[in-house]
Symmetry: C2
Subunit: 425 residues, 2 copies
């Protein structure tokens, strides 16, 4: 995947441990193999890491966005309560894969118990721990593996445990997803890093997937919540793998202030610098999520320019990225641009289809397929060559305004069907 | 596919020719193999029937609903103009597969030309012919095959040409879709019959697919348009194969009055009898469309009861039917009911998830998987047995009101991806 370069920001290693004063750890505790209540094996019966903890040395400003699904996982409810109770302060987060702890009668109790196990070890209040969980919905969460594993989880915390943590939130993900950047503010070296997970059940209009972002910048809770919402709007919320909205999506940001900058409490240059850093981290994780969409062979990026406003641009870009027919065509490397026009046409946005131009682009070149809403002659050979690449860019010019927006997704493949036809066994 | 039985209505053969005074014909004229403008072969290079005509002996009341996509095929625009010009009177309809005639600069001109070719043969005004076209978007419509084929098309018109017509509108459809019923009104024997086509690019909130319905009942144009909209709402608009909304969807109804009943011009018993007949025809075609969804191996019917109102029930049913994750689970015969809850949860409707019950049902039995929004223990073996059937019923009880609604769809399979990965070649 191509990482775009931004002046003043340097990509670094370290993920959620890139920022000063953040420790992490991840391990296999047994959630993924734990027996279901009826005695059968858990669906994802493997021994891959399934539990992790991310902790700051000092108290943080914390902010989060959550799924908008009416069916909310117990961890979402618990995290919301904790943030409300502390007024946006937290010290860490516990996460697990292998079980979503959703649609369970005892879900909240179990999620709270997990927070308490971590808080007790860390010697802090239970409300200072947030929680996120992912996996099968509607299966009783086994709490014993967490109880048993907590000692080792805590003892293994380290300033370079980011990869272990990133691995422990993976479900059908095929790669770990971590990004971090370094930049200067007030003459201080600052860092923002993050990890994400997600492969299926990913769709815009919600926080999308599990994500933890850490930074050593000092930012007030209010500002952190505001800037998180703004950046989520143009990153995670512009991602669609399959159009399904998960029940457990959570994106939490922790800012511990150890970089030593003057705390950002309002609009201004510092906030812009921070926001840009957050955008770089979150947009890269977004692209990683798209590229690793279940069964995906291609990353699709759809950019819509010349819109009357940004919302319209994003709505149109998402509509194209979501279209199953278009996604199949990309898998087949078939320049069936009529499906792009079709998906533009059913987007609920304001535009005149007769002014729309469409290009398909990749590292192999660019081909114009539509001008003024109608097809133009093009070489199918050249188009096939362009579409043979792993990263495909769909460029839509509405020619009706100055605003633009981008959405990310992936192709629809046999493997998506295979993975999801038998996810639980 | 199971056809539900309704008292007073008898299923009969005959499709669009079941009603008195309707002739039809269909043939291969060369649209499907015609060369594209750049000299390459047309995508669907086969010699299956691609042109048909349905004509009434006498003038009809006519009504139609069309796609709500902003990108409208030229035939949609031309049909809308014709209905407006005549005030809802028409004598017939010409349809073709192999080319959607959409996103073409000369599209309207070509669509009008096709109507004129038919009208000239029939000795009627061009506005008395409606048109519908389906196939690849954005490829120039070859008019020569239609000019050449019109003589044979006209000469072959017959009172039992319905199957030929139904075959000529097929694209990736694997079976012809025809339904007809007979019933009595005013002591007269009446008939309603129809044909439909559609396999991919099918989604609610529009007329969905190409459909022609004929009846010998006497119904005024205004009433016909009103009742068509009402029935479309609970049939074609409750169907989703892949969530893509086509550019060319058209459902037209022709009522020629030859049954001899008193013309239906307002609410009343006759209208109810007619409406029920229309519902039987259109709901059966809807189910046929769902069962023949691209690559489908299973027909899915989702019924939502106990809703506060019908709109909420339909929205929730459609949300489940559309979920790619759930569709994959059905293909895999995996009782992953958490995905049903998830899709209910992101439906934009008013309900309390904590009261929701879900059952899965087929000819093999019924299994309760969720009560009060939480999972209940069930036998995976029994569930697998139930899901091994071709027709699966998802029964959702909201327990919050008296209204209900049903939506239809199909599973998501390898073949869907295969068909759409390389549709044009």
């Amino acid at each position: 995947m191509t990482k775009e370069q931004y002046e003043g920001y340097t990509y670094i290693d370290g993920g959620v441990c890139a920022a000063k004063g953040f420790q992490a750890n991840g391990l296999y505790c047994g959630i993924k193999r734990a027996g279901a209540p009826d005695g059968t094996e858990s669906p994802a019966s493997d021994t891959k890491p399934d539990l992790c903890l991310v902790v700051s040395d000092v108290m943080c400003s914390a902010a989060a966005v959550f799924t908008q699904n009416k069916v909310k996982g117990a961890p979402v409810t618990v995290s919301q309560k904790h943030l409300a109770a502390t007024g946006g302060r937290a010290k860490g987060m516990i996460l697990n894969s292998g079980n979503a702890n959703t649609c369970n009668a005892d879900g909240e109790e179990k999620a709270l118990k997990m927070c308490r196990l971590a808080a007790d070890k860390l010697g802090i209040r239970v409300e200072e721990i947030l929680i996120a969980q992912t996996g099968v919905i509607g299966q009783i969460m086994p709490i014993e593996p967490v109880e048993t594993g907590m000692d080792a989880l805590y003892n293994g915390l380290s300033y370079n445990g980011n990869e272990k943590a990133a691995a422990a939130i993976m479900t059908t993900d095929t790669v770990k997803k971590e990004v971090a950047v370094a930049f200067e503010m007030d003459g201080k070296l600052c860092h923002i890093g993050g990890m994400g997970k997600g492969s299926g059940m990913i769709h815009p209009n919600m926080a999308t997937t599990l994500n933890v972002i850490t930074t050593d910048c000092a930012v007030s809770s209010d500002v952190l919540q505001k800037v998180l919402r703004e950046v989520v709007k143009v990153t995670y919320n512009c991602l669609s793998v399959d159009g399904d909205q998960s029940t457990n999506d959570t994106c939490a940001v922790f800012a511990n202030g150890l970089a030593g900058n003057t705390e950002i409490t309002s609009e201004g240059e510092s906030l812009e610098i921070f926001k840009q850093g957050l955008f770089i981290v979150m947009s890269n994780i977004t692209k990683m999520l798209a590229a690793d969409g279940e069964g995906a062979t291609k990353l699709l990026e759809c950019n819509v320019s010349g819109a009357k406003n940004q919302d319209d641009a994003i709505i149109i870009a998402k509509s194209v990225i979501r279209s199953p027919l278009f996604k199949c065509a990309m898998f087949g490397e078939d320049a069936n641009w009529g499906r792009i026009l079709c998906a533009i046409g059913y987007a609920e946005a304001d535009f005149d289809i007769k002014k729309v131009d469409v290009d398909l682009k990749s590292a192999k070149g660019t081909v114009a397929v539509c001008r003024n809403g109608a097809g133009v002659a093009f070489s199918e050979e050249q188009a096939a060559e362009i579409l043979s690449e792993d990263e495909i860019f769909i460029r839509i010019a509405l020619n009706q305004g100055m605003a633009e927006g981008t959405a990310w997704g992936c192709d629809l493949t046999y493997d998506y069907v295979k993975i999801n036809g038998d996810y639980r066994s």
